[in-house]
């Protein structure tokens, strides 16, 4: 597929669909959106199939370059990390359209157009190789999401959309200033070049903080997470799916693409800050999730806790941690998306998110109960599901850097089990206390078609994650090598005991080195 501009095509298809949707009736708009997203899904799979995973080839593949003016160019290209996030995006998009099929019945054309435009921008974020192009895509992504919440959202949508916009825009101002300085300093807008550019360590700290302001909000990290529960609660189901599924991953992608490779010294220096915020986030938001009476808020808070595992994994500075962080992002994208779909299913029937209004759904909705249980268990991180692979690797990675951080963050598996099983019990188990909830019909064929594919991928990712780890491996290895000189030493340095025979002294060297530099060499 050399020379064929597949990445541009993947953005052109939904763009064309978005424009078409604005001029047709409701039903046509639904079909156009579904077909456009399915075409993009097929293109995405073709992209994956043609991606050279051997690690022997170029890091950046499917590159396109078209100068626009000055240094600014339509520069696209992907590595394995971007490939996986694009795959996640194009996989979730048709599901989002399907989830909105009956739930949205006002301004359908505009709604579908907003979604398709968002797909353009999300693919743009993951493919952009030009710093400013990335910035435009990254920030413009706010607009359709803002509209989706503000127009098609719940009762309190205006407050939520404003909060969402204000929070996320706040960080981006600082990021733009930092970007301009960087372009001035390095003389290029090309991201691959900047990733290898060595900025002065003193300046790095400021640059890092400027980017951090933006990415931390997007993640979201504690304490700038409070927009997320409100945005989720007010967003329509599909909006929540794409918000949890893809938009939250942009923060993690930003860390992995910019903060870590461009400012390795500052990353290492400020790692304790990230660890600290993440540790607070895991415990704090998990406990908050435990006491929620609104389903969507509960899952939103659980998202913050899961994203904290991503940040500790990334700032473990080793391969296991970063690969784990990526797997958590992919797994969480699927599982949290599916959980929001599950909430949407019963919200469509009863029009309330109040947990206490449900109960005993296993009796009248057995199929729903099975799928909801599956995603609950995946969210809890049961081995054999996608989330376990990620959480395990991320926590194992951070253990090599700090045992304290690992211990505190691993408590997330206990708290996560508590709040998710408590949620599941209140919704699906017990007696049928509410007559209207007891009368709800089981999943329709359409709803099964939305959830079953996600379940299949979650299982695939849990049992054979190699399909997903392999494309990312060379990139993450390169990143680890880039970080190695700055990476902080672990706190579990092994010292061989005095009673050991002198002949085994060489062991000491090996083990002293191991935690500090990771195990990948």
């Amino acid at each position: 597929m050399d020379g064929f501009p597949i990445l541009s095509l993947m953005m052109a298809v939904p763009m064309a669909g978005a424009i078409a949707c604005l001029f047709v009736g409701a039903n046509s708009a639904r079909w156009i959106a579904l077909i456009a997203t399915l075409v993009d899904f097929v293109l995405g799979m073709a992209l994956w199939a043609n991606f050279d995973q051997s690690g022997g080839g170029a890091q950046w593949q499917f590159q396109e370059y078209a100068p626009i003016f000055g240094k600014f160019a339509w520069a696209l290209g992907i590595d394995g990390i971007a490939l996986m996030l694009i795959a996640l995006t194009v996989f979730l998009m048709p599901i989002c359209i399907g989830a909105s099929w009956n739930a949205i019945n006002k301004r359908v054309g505009e709604y579908m157009a907003a979604f398709l435009f968002m797909e353009v921008l999300m693919i743009g974020v993951f493919t952009a190789q030009d710093l400013y192009l990335f910035y435009i895509m990254f920030e413009a992504g706010l607009i359709p999401m803002y509209l989706i919440i503000g127009i098609w959202g719940g009762a309190d949508r205006i407050y939520a959309s404003y909060k969402f916009f204000l929070y996320t825009l706040f960080g981006s101002v600082l990021m733009l200033i930092a970007m301009m300085w960087m372009v001035h300093e390095a003389g290029t807008t090309e991201i691959p070049v900047l990733m290898a550019y060595n900025f002065d360590p003193h300046v790095q700290t400021w640059l890092f903080l400027a980017f951090f302001a933006s990415f931390a909000v997007k993640m979201p990290m504690w304490p700038v997470h409070t927009w997320l529960p409100d945005a989720h609660v007010q967003a329509p189901t599909a909006g929540s799916v794409i918000l949890a599924g893809v938009l939250l991953k942009m923060g993690g992608y930003g860390f992995i693409r910019f903060s870590l490779p461009m400012f390795p010294e500052a990353s290492a220096q400020l790692a304790p800050l990230v660890w600290g915020l993440s540790m607070v986030a895991v415990v704090y938001t998990s406990l908050v999730a435990l006491v929620q009476s609104d389903m969507k808020k509960l899952i939103a808070y659980s998202s913050v806790a899961h994203m904290a595992i991503v940040t500790v994994g990334l700032f473990a500075f080793n391969q296991a941690g970063i690969e784990g962080a990526m797997m958590v992002m992919l797994g969480h994208g699927l599982v949290a998306g599916a959980l929001f779909l599950c909430v949407g299913v019963i919200y469509d029937r009863l029009h309330t998110r109040e947990i206490a209004r449900y109960g005993g759904l296993s009796i009248n909705m057995p199929r729903y109960a099975v799928l909801f249980l599956f995603f609950t268990m995946a969210s809890v991180g049961l081995p054999g599901t996608s989330n376990f692979v990620g959480e395990f690797l991320a926590l194992m990675g951070i253990y090599q850097a700090s045992t304290w951080v690992a211990l505190v963050c691993t408590t997330g598996i206990i708290l996560g089990a508590a709040y998710m099983l408590y949620l599941y019990r209140r919704i699906c188990y017990g007696e049928q206390v509410n007559a209207d909830a007891a009368a709800m019909p089981d999943l329709s064929g359409r709803e099964i078609w939305l959830l079953a594919p996600i379940a299949a991928v979650v299982l695939w990712m849990g049992v054979y994650p190699e399909s997903f780890l392999k494309p990312m491996r060379p990139d993450i290895r390169a990143l680890e090598a880039r970080l190695a000189p700055a990476a902080p030493a672990g706190d579990s340095k092994i010292k061989m005991g005095a009673p050991k025979p002198a002949g085994e002294a060489h062991e000491e060297v090996h083990h002293e080195e191991a935690p500090a530099h990771g195990e990948a060499h």
Partner: protein, 678 residues
């Protein structure tokens, strides 16, 4: 062949579970039970080939699971002597429990789901015991936890069952936290999680130190204790035991399979599997010994006062697991595995027997409403008696012939005495616990099968009678009233029926195990020479310790026998001879009785220490952290400021914040353009 053994239950579970109602009850039952019997039939030849010494340990690789840098976890099925032991235990008990459930769950409308869960559990347990690396073991570990959660909460309409299911899962997760940290640490130290490689390298790390949570500790002690926390959770050891008695909310066949014979022994299996690792840390072994002994004593004391027949057996299980752990702690891993093996048979038997009693007594579980069932359900009575003879360790010391528990429990006690050190304390505790074991086991038998019938006072029996009347005579309202004023003792006109043959056959087969498992296999498991040949180094078999255990003083050999008889005598005196003794005991030692009845107040303590604070702190963080602080001074405060500013600029602008935001964005884009093109 091993693939078939492991994967058949998974296949059956998937078909029965997903097919569910569409598949129908009978096909689901035939499929799952059939798959388990095939697995069982394939497992015994493997075990026998290890018994005869003709088989070698081997690993069947499947495919890659997780790879990351030098971290490499493969799906693989390992078969060695330890796996072979577990294979026969799991598949035998599981297939019998499947069969038994045909009868026990006969009235249940949701049978495909039940059988699918049972088979799923069996698959996860088989993955656990065939693991060749720590991560696959953890997969099985969590898989059995999932199945346990689902089966405890099988009757999901019951609030108590739901609470017990969540409790089981969450408490186990506390243990899993330790297990996961242990895996992280092990990988950090050894750069691999392959069990054989770790065990090979472990001795070279003895005496080294490692940083952990800001302090320096002995490396192997840290790793072993972290992993042991996992074992404590799964095997319900003191501190993390609170879920096991509550797990009795699940259907009784589940209690027999999961909470007696197999899953709860996973912790013991893990310690034995990693025994060369534990051997490198005397501190860790001492902790294992003390925790085991403490659990053994604690659970036995609580078991003596419980009135729910299943809870008595549950505490008995907890106590027996304590025996297995302190056996491992003193280095007698063979004895631990042996007790695991025999215990699986006689404890599954006792649970299934209890299920048969409950079935006969129309779901009544309180022994205070039993009595005189000996003649009504004779086969259940005789098989449970055999089980009781096995658990109390009836046998003839010196001659060395007895029931299964006689070989395994006495083996543990003798090894503990021979080991000395912490073992001596464990020995004394174990002897005392054996007295209690004998007492509560015979108490159960006497209360259930002997004495006078006390059925009439039972609500469940009343329901049964009421239903019968309702069906027989629709117009007799007086029968209804009469039942509510029934006398406290007597049969109340109820006639218990012996269970159907599908339930009795498993009881009879398991009684064979309870009678002969010790006699047949003790030489291979704990014989000083036989053990070496059987285990072939897969666990740290200490031949010297076993020799010493065989040569302990005669009084040590007679001690378990004596306390067994004493316990029997006390139980006989208190529950057959002088039935007012228990009341007088309660009146005299009210404090002690209340303390034991309330299970040493662990649940209350944990509720105050963990559960309530978690909710309170969560609410605090939410209301005062997020809403009261971050939002108040963050976006809302900013909004208030903007509104103030708007008052000034209202005439010029529309006043909508998002307009400003969009203007800002456009401005920024313009600035960016300028920066690039200049």
């Amino acid at each position: 062949m091993i693939q078939l053994i492991v994967l058949l239950p998974l296949l059956a579970a998937a078909i029965a579970g997903l097919g569910n109602k569409a598949l129908g009850k009978l096909p689901a039952k035939i499929l799952t039970t059939g798959a388990l019997f095939i697995s069982c039939a394939l497992s015994w030849p493997i075990f026998i080939s290890f018994l005869t010494g003709s088989a070698e340990a081997h690993v069947t690789p499947l495919f890659t699971w997780i790879q990351s840098g030098s971290f490499d976890a493969q799906w693989a099925l390992r078969v060695d002597a330890m796996t072979a032991v577990m294979l026969v235990v799991i598949t035998s008990v599981s297939s019998l429990v499947h069969l038994y459930s045909w009868g026990y769950m006969d009235e249940e409308p949701d049978q495909p789901r039940f059988f699918a869960y049972l088979s799923l559990f069996t698959f996860a347990m088989l993955m656990l015991v065939t693991a060749n690396n720590l991560l696959q073991m953890f997969f099985g570990w969590e898989g059995v936890g999932l199945a346990s959660y689902l089966l405890i909460g099988f009757w999901f309409r019951k609030p108590s069952a739901n609470a017990a299911a969540i409790k089981a899962f969450v408490v186990n997760r506390v243990g899993d936290l330790g297990f996961m940290m242990g895996i992280f640490g092990t990988y950090l130290v050894f750069n691999t999680i392959s069990i054989p490689e770790i065990l090979e390298m472990a001795p070279s790390m003895a005496g080294s130190t490692i940083g952990f949570l800001g302090h320096r500790f002995d490396t192997m002690t840290v790793l072993c204790l972290l992993l042991f926390v996992g074992a404590m959770g799964k095997s319900a050891q003191l501190g993390l035991h609170t879920w096991l008695p509550d797990a009795m909310e699940g259907p009784t066949p589940v209690s027999a399979l999961i909470h007696a014979a197999t899953m709860v022994t996973a912790g013991v299996f893990m310690v034995c599997r990693l025994s060369p690792m534990f051997e490198t840390s005397q501190t860790a072994l001492t902790v294992v010994t003390y925790v085991g002994a403490a659990t053994c004593l604690f659970a036995a004391t609580v078991g003596t006062v419980q009135t729910d027949i299943k809870r008595v057996i549950a505490y008995s299980t907890c106590s027996q697991l304590g025996y297995m752990f302190f056996a491992a702690g003193v280095g007698a891993y063979g004895a631990a595995m042996f007790h695991l093996f025999t215990h699986a048979f006689f404890k599954a038997l006792l649970f299934l027997g209890a299920g048969s009693v409950i079935h006969a007594m129309h779901h009544e579980q309180d022994m205070r409403y039993y009595g005189a069932l000996r003649k009504e359900i004779p086969i259940t009575f005789w098989t449970m008696t055999l089980g009781t003879l096995a658990i109390t360790g009836v046998g003839l010391p010196l001659i060395g012939v007895g029931f299964a528990g006689f070989y395994s429990k006495d083996g543990i006690l003798e090894a503990a005495y021979a080991a000395g050190g912490a073992g001596t304390g464990a020995f004394l505790v174990g002897i005392f616990a054996a007295l209690l074991t004998s007492f509560y086991s015979w108490r159960l038998v006497f209360l259930t099968f002997f004495g006078k019938a006390r059925w009439a006072a039972s609500e469940h029996i009343q329901h049964a009678l009421h239903d019968a009347h309702g069906h027989d005579d629709h117009h007799d309202d007086h029968a209804h009233d009469d039942n509510h004023h029934a006398p406290a003792t007597g049969t109340g006109g109820y006639h218990p029926h012996e269970s159907p043959w599908v339930m009795l056959v498993p009881l009879i087969v398991l009684s064979l195990g309870a009678v002969f498992a010790g006699f047949l296999f003790h030489d291979q498991f704990i014989g000083a020479e036989g053990g070496i040949e059987f285990w072939k180094g897969v666990l740290s078999f200490d031949s010297h310790l076993m020799h010493a255990a065989h040569e302990v003083p005669t009084w040590v050999k007679f001690a378990p026998f004596t306390v067994m008889l004493t316990g029997l005598l006390i139980a006989w005196l208190a529950y057959i001879k002088n039935t007012d003794w228990p009341q007088r005991f309660v009146a005299t030692f009210t404090g002690l009785y209340t303390f034991l009845l309330n299970k040493w107040y662990f649940d209350e303590l944990y509720n105050v220490l963990f559960v309530k604070p978690a909710f309170a702190i969560g609410r605090f963080f939410w209301k005062f952290g997020d809403v009261g602080f971050i939002d108040r001074f963050g976006p809302n405060g900013l909004a208030a400021l903007v509104v103030q500013g708007n008052k000034v600029t209202r005439r010029l602008q529309s006043g909508y914040l998002y307009t400003y935001a969009l203007v800002m964005l456009i401005g920024l884009a313009a600035a960016a353009t300028w920066a690039m093109t200049r």
